[in-house]
Symmetry: C2
Subunit: 139 residues, 2 copies
DNA sequence: CTAATTGCAAAAGCTTTGCAGCGCA
DNA sequence: TGCGCTGCAAAGCTTTTGCAATTAG
């Protein structure tokens, strides 16, 4: 349970209630991809009263520290997920909003090839497939 | 020159000055990926005075009609590009903002494979590589 | 003529900033 | 104790909406 505190300290951030709460939420939440507003609402429902500006500030600090990663899927605002060691790409169901993660070596290698062919030095990449998930196809 | 009018009519949209101007801009602009604000500024500089709300409305109509495609790259707001027949992916320089387009069969095929493995029926996808372009590496 | 379209102004979201006070180390 | 962090309120930005006036077909 003190693991969050470790991570925070390692990132050079003081261990404060809002930060711990946000980190715990990101770890325990069923939905692994949350917007600032999502975090706010989830914490409110959990009885934790953290101000919205604080949440945005903390998420930015977490991102700078490499604790979380931010994405811009089709909706024009950012969602955050915990930064796990293993990189992965995303598949978003446009009907129910579900997000699945996957990793494919062929694609990863091909991306490098393409980049070097264009003289690009890749620092990051995102790949996102949009479609209808198996659940929604039956419904 | 009447090609724009054809496209608009085909999309079931009346041929009005703002719509024609926006379409022409998207066709002639050097930067092929423009936000609503970008379109507004470009038209202003060209001496065309189109209201911002009109631009957003028109872009949405164009998108619904399939005339343009919208993207959400790293910046948390949408940019639009003309919908060409040939699909392609994007490579964004995080330094100068330049956007290059590419298409790779290996990746396209692999995406289908991955999707079906997860039970997804793909309707669309976006892949975006972020990095430093050749120009910026030298500078 | 009639319905679609525009412009203006104002509202709506999400996100950021300034500042005074509180709290971790 | 001191600097960092939080909360509040207010500002910022892009995008959207309501409504009266205008225009294409």
């Amino acid at each position: 349970m003190a693991t969050e505190n470790q991570e925070l300290r390692k990132a050079g951030l003081k261990v404060t209630l809002p930060r711990v709460k946000i980190l715990q939420l990101l770890e325990s939440s069923e939905n692994k991809h949350l917007s600032g507003k999502d975090v706010y609402k989830a914490l409110l429902e959990a009885g934790e009263d953290v101000a919205l500006p604080t949440i945005y500030r903390v998420l930015h600090q977490f991102e700078a520290a490499g604790l979380v990663i931010s994405h811009n899927f089709e909706s024009a605002h950012s969602v955050y997920e915990l930064n796990s060691v293993d990189h992965h790409d995303h598949m978003v169901c446009t009907k129910c909003g579900r997000v699945e993660e996957f990793l494919d070596d062929v694609i990863e290698q091909q991306q490098e090839k393409i980049a070097s062919k264009h003289g690009f030095k890749i620092t990051d990449h995102s790949m996102c497939l949009y479609g209808i998930c198996s659940d929604c196809q039956q419904a």
